[in-house]
Symmetry: C3
Subunit: 427 residues, 3 copies
Amino acid sequence: MAPMTTPGEEMHALVERLYPLCRSITGDGVRATLDVIGEYLPLQVHEVPTGTRVLDWTVPQEWNIRDAYVADATGRRVVDFAASSLHVLGYSVPVAATMPLSELRAHLHTLPDQPSLVPYRTSYYKPAWGFCLAQETLDALPDGDYEVRIDSTLADGHLTYAEHVVPGQVADEVIVSCHVCHPSLANDNLAGVAVATFLARELAERTLYHTYRFLFAPGTIGAITWLARNAERVEQVRHGVVLACAGDRGALTYKRSRRGDAEIDRVMRHVLTASGRPHTIREFTPYGYDERQFCSPGFDLGVGSLTRTPYAGYPEYHTSADDPSFVAPEAMEDTLAVLREAFGVLDRNRRHLNLSPYGEPQLGRRGLYGALGGRSDTQEAQMAMLWVLSLSDGGHDLLDVAERSGLPFDTVATAADALRDAGLIKA
Amino acid sequence: MAPMTTPGEEMHALVERLYPLCRSITGDGVRATLDVIGEYLPLQVHEVPTGTRVLDWTVPQEWNIRDAYVADATGRRVVDFAASSLHVLGYSVPVAATMPLSELRAHLHTLPDQPSLVPYRTSYYKPAWGFCLAQETLDALPDGDYEVRIDSTLADGHLTYAEHVVPGQVADEVIVSCHVCHPSLANDNLAGVAVATFLARELAERTLYHTYRFLFAPGTIGAITWLARNAERVEQVRHGVVLACAGDRGALTYKRSRRGDAEIDRVMRHVLTASGRPHTIREFTPYGYDERQFCSPGFDLGVGSLTRTPYAGYPEYHTSADDPSFVAPEAMEDTLAVLREAFGVLDRNRRHLNLSPYGEPQLGRRGLYGALGGRSDTQEAQMAMLWVLSLSDGGHDLLDVAERSGLPFDTVATAADALRDAGLIKA
Amino acid sequence: MAPMTTPGEEMHALVERLYPLCRSITGDGVRATLDVIGEYLPLQVHEVPTGTRVLDWTVPQEWNIRDAYVADATGRRVVDFAASSLHVLGYSVPVAATMPLSELRAHLHTLPDQPSLVPYRTSYYKPAWGFCLAQETLDALPDGDYEVRIDSTLADGHLTYAEHVVPGQVADEVIVSCHVCHPSLANDNLAGVAVATFLARELAERTLYHTYRFLFAPGTIGAITWLARNAERVEQVRHGVVLACAGDRGALTYKRSRRGDAEIDRVMRHVLTASGRPHTIREFTPYGYDERQFCSPGFDLGVGSLTRTPYAGYPEYHTSADDPSFVAPEAMEDTLAVLREAFGVLDRNRRHLNLSPYGEPQLGRRGLYGALGGRSDTQEAQMAMLWVLSLSDGGHDLLDVAERSGLPFDTVATAADALRDAGLIKA
């Protein structure tokens, strides 16, 4: 009998499939990535022309690359884009020349402290060309002339991004955003892309309160473009999570929104704490992923960031060691599980008004309370009802009730359902 | 020479006298209890007819009981109400039948984990009958037929509660509430009843600022009835304490009002802390005694709850082991002393306005300050004056001054008196 | 080659020069003191007539003293004002009499626990005369008659104080106040006077944002007089520091203003913490130096107090042991350095508004950002810019940015300058 495939393994397969593609902030690598995701999920793909003004920025020229290499005097490719998309400085202008190693060195990027790894480097807004290679490779190169060739184009074209919307009962939105601009780097951010994709598929099976919008866009300029083109929709964004580094074997890290106490911040903290998982909660900083844009002071959205080990927090970060073996199926499943749970809380969390606030309502008469008094043990469900009644003053939501009472959120939300059904509270 | 009787011993004697009476939420047991208290304290007794709507509730039928027993085939009473009021399920409907033990078992309540103790059980709002007995007693019963008899009546009548008011200078009220519905249980709540009774007698000897209202009423339905019938008076309730479990040998526990920082919460915390007594301060929960009603979100009164060991916090709770030997004269005196001190603070606590707020007023000229300068030691009384002047900005009361300065409340209040007499501050 | 004189040594020389003068809250000793300071700093000297109403107080008569002694039967001066100004009770009325030791004792002040030291005592508002001497001296006096003589005058005159203003770009003022009423006591407060004097000279060399006002006035009545005569100017006082005990070898202590979170409180805390110096931050109390007046609730200015060891915190306090050897040049330099740094922060601290708050502005286009992306290390200066942009919402000042980001204030302020120059933020 064939072994079952787990969701983690399916996500890992998606990471492996996307890994070789040469993504950047524009270009066919992004389109090919979105095509693959589109096989899992219907996507609305947007093409925004070069030169479009987006907030303080301008959509740059589109970059495409076909081939690139450094070849030695014998014609042997000592650095070859075909082997890894990391080998070329992102957004390299075309070059075709022969030059001595001494001159070439200014265009070569290595990691002297990690001599066997290839770094990830880009130059989006300053025209440049370059190659990235292992320090060991560089050290082995004899002096002499080398042929350098980058067969790229930088030309007017488009910036490409995609959306997938899972509709809910209300137009209020939860945004899940992940960047699709990094080339052959698995944890940053193919694991995030894979978790977002599978989460979106799961949510489609559920009855949702909020509308969930998944955004697959290049980092910085992509989020800025989306924000610029969706001024009215931004008004409806209530919560959000920027998803990155979702697959390494480290513990989860949630970085709060700029507000620090947005509902998503409270929900993530509650879920991570209540689950007993080891985890870290970090305060907002204006550096990181696209929470920088969503949380810029003009928008100041309730958008946090979920990662496992945060950016720059692991030695494989932005190097060739961030390959598919660095991400684990179980880790991606765990990230998915936390988001599933958090969005479950977010979707049920409400403020209520106690409609019978003077004294306790007689729960027993409504079948909501054990009739036999005098027992010292009180059921959790009944305590949850008393707590919901006590705190349903318009100033507390169910998450507050859960945190103040120490009761599980699910118990509290179920108690609220019963009280609402009995006409004792209203949302 | 006859030994002196301490107040603690007098309170204990009251507990012992009330102990045998079969109290419930209505009925002659409550009336008999109020009659005894009335010997200590003039009471205004209220009778509220069955069927009266009180907030979300309805005053139930009145329950009275004359006799109840389980007798074996020989006529021997193996469970007998005459021995303890706990033996009958409170509010049992009448029954007169003979049935095999196997059938009777469904009506017998025991404590398997405390096999020698009789539990306390009631069924106020669901018609039922039953007996409470020790597990050991039950275990010793042979199979066979038993005569069961409960000579009770459930009929239209009244709910009975009583008030005692000690008038003060202002109509603003402090409410002291204790439940009088538990049958033969000493700590819960005859000790509370005794402490309230003696406290009321003491206050009558003092010049009071607030008006103090003592409420002796059945739990839940009694407080609800009082609240329903005193909608205007509730507006005048500024502070309150629900008093229960006032006599066991454990340390004092104060449970904050729902507001959490009501003046009574601050006063109790200050007094308990300043006294150096071991004690516990607990956050509000919507379970417990009648603070549940006073603190329901519609009323949200500044009412906390003072106990020694809280409900369900001791193994004797709601069992036959909560008898007069479980409560100690010294413990009741200690509870009384803390309330005396707390109400002393509450009565003197005021916000003032500094009438000479620009620079320090010249205290020396008014005889309020030692004239000889240059000494490094400053008297506590003078520091208290400086603190009161500094914080008399309308935003701080004397308790704030005591807490910020670290000075005793009494020193601070005395300093405020002197400054008020000198015309430097006004309340 | 002659050794360089350090600022600490220069300040110490000033302390030594001022030490012998007999200061009090009025009189020629104050004038002589201000004359000396005036050699370092142009002063505006004010003379306020006896009897002038100042807030709740009245300017007292002026006290001057020429000679005072206790002489034994042989004419030997056993206590002599000429040896130390501390020997006379401040504001002693004149006396010329012969009396037995037994009668004289009521006028003699000693420190029995510090038998070799002379205490400092005054009686400003209650007419009295007296001498201060070492307990050892007193113990050695044989019984018998003594000649006592205090050649003082108490007469209508003036209260004298001085100001020095260093103008800044705005009329908003920072006040630095130190008392000049203590006689031969070095740490309390000649060290404070010396540090204030040298600080004022330094500030004159700088381009300042705030206007800095230095106040040299007698304690209590002097500050009250200044406040009474400057009602309009007080409106412009934004920040202030009362400076005292500035030269002992203990660590620095900052006492917060009454507000507790005034900007000066935040600045001092930041500077003391960031500097790594051992230090203490104390909450406001209404006792101490002239912060008592500046922080009285009617004014409630943002004025804290900087000392090294606080008043009454060292055994030499208010005794003859507080002589020039008790203060250290390095300690005074250290106090000066902290004030220099704090005022530097205060002068640069601003709230800004991000003029491009939707998304991040493109820093690279403006030459404010390294163009080469993908590197895991981010420069401090760039992080500072991101933080300033993120928190420039009108609700945070640069000190908030420094504290939230963990970056040095200077880095943050420099980043703000660059962003302001680029038109991205405005103050």
